[in-house]
């Protein structure tokens, strides 16, 4: 087992490495863009909780928030930035080391 791989875990992105924000990043990585209501429904978070985590991701430059209208319906649309997509890919690669490694045999 590589010591370097283990040490890489210490540099996991703490902005992404939080359950609620990881859910948000996973969903937004899978789609082009999504609004606040869709994220709230998919993540099962309260409005306040979701708003707080989205703000943190926006501060980190991982997503953009656009307030617009679809017809008369106001939308708060979230979309990952290029930096956010690259950060998620890097995070996924590091986590794969944790989850996809060989299972050690019993002594």
């Amino acid at each position: 087992m590589s010591a370097k791989g283990i040490k890489d875990l210490s540099s996991l992105d703490r902005v992404i490495h939080e359950p609620a924000r990881l859910m948000i990043m996973t969903i937004l990585f899978a789609v082009e863009e999504a609004d606040f209501v869709y994220l709230q429904r998919e993540c099962g978070l309260t409005q306040g909780n979701l708003s707080s985590h989205i703000s943190k991701l926006e501060e980190a430059g991982y997503l953009t928030i656009t307030k617009t209208f679809k017809g008369k319906y106001p939308l708060t649309i979230c979309k990952l930035t290029r930096k956010g997509r690259e950060a998620f890919e890097t995070y996924s690669v590091k986590m794969r080391f944790v989850t996809n490694g060989p299972i050690p045999s019993k002594p």
């Binding site: 789609v31 869709y38 998919e42 017809g71 649309i77 996924s92």
Partner: protein, 216 residues
């Protein structure tokens, strides 16, 4: 693509399912097919008006059919803005933006339908069996479409909502005496699609009466 983890793939699949879960797209297509197949009936009702009746028929059919088929996306979006987005939110899937993937569209199905009809018409020299051949072609076409679209769905049961009325409608179209007009086949298919879509839309509205609550 190494970053498409199982969780990302699951999120993408859910977004694709959500895009079509309300059945609004299929409802509009079904309405278009009903309009298309009702030409003979409308023509017979407008026949007493002579030339004016023919003009009215052409204008009505062109406007309705054009709106429903060519303007399908705009109409569906207009309905979703009022019924769907306020309840369950808005999402745009990447296959609508990616160049390499084909977004789910009715036009490939329509194209295949036209090709099948052309081949069957050319090959069939047996007028007595024409309805059977066309019915089999419809079942094959839409059965395969439902099966293929079921690969992306979380609930394959909704496929039966369409196939059961379709089979019933085709049975009526084949065995009714006197035989219904040939164009009414489009009405059978369209009505089956619209029926299944209305049930899906009703189910969706019952399950999602409003936006998510503030508290968990």
């Amino acid at each position: 693509m190494s970053h498409l983890t199982p969780s990302v793939l699951a999120a993408r699949q859910r977004a694709r399912y959500y895009r079509d879960a309300s059945g609004i797209s299929e409802l509009v297509i079904g309405a278009a097919l009903v309009v298309f197949g009702s030409q003979d009936y409308l023509a017979s009702k407008l026949a007493p008006f002579g030339h004016l009746g023919r003009v009215i028929l052409v204008v009505v059919i062109l406007i309705l059919y054009g709106l429903l088929m060519l303007g399908n996306k705009r109409i569906v979006e207009w309905i979703k803005e009022r019924l769907i987005y306020p309840r369950t939110g808005y999402v745009s899937t990447q296959d609508e933006a990616d160049k390499g993937e084909t977004a789910r569209s009715p036009f490939p199905v329509i194209l295949v339908l036209v090709l099948i009809i052309g081949v069957v018409s050319f090959a069939s020299g047996y007028a007595n069996y024409a309805r059977w051949i066309w019915s089999a072609a419809m079942l094959l076409l839409f059965g395969s479409y439902v099966f293929l679209s079921g690969q992306f769905e979380l609930d394959p049961r909704r496929s039966w909502l369409f196939l059961i009325p379709l089979v019933g409608g085709l049975a009526w179209w084949n065995f009714s005496k006197p035989s219904p007009p040939f164009m009414s086949l489009a009405v059978v298919v369209g009505a089956s699609l619209a029926f299944a879509s209305l049930i899906r839309l009703f189910t969706y509205l019952v399950r999602n009466p409003g936006p998510p609550s503030a508290a968990p």
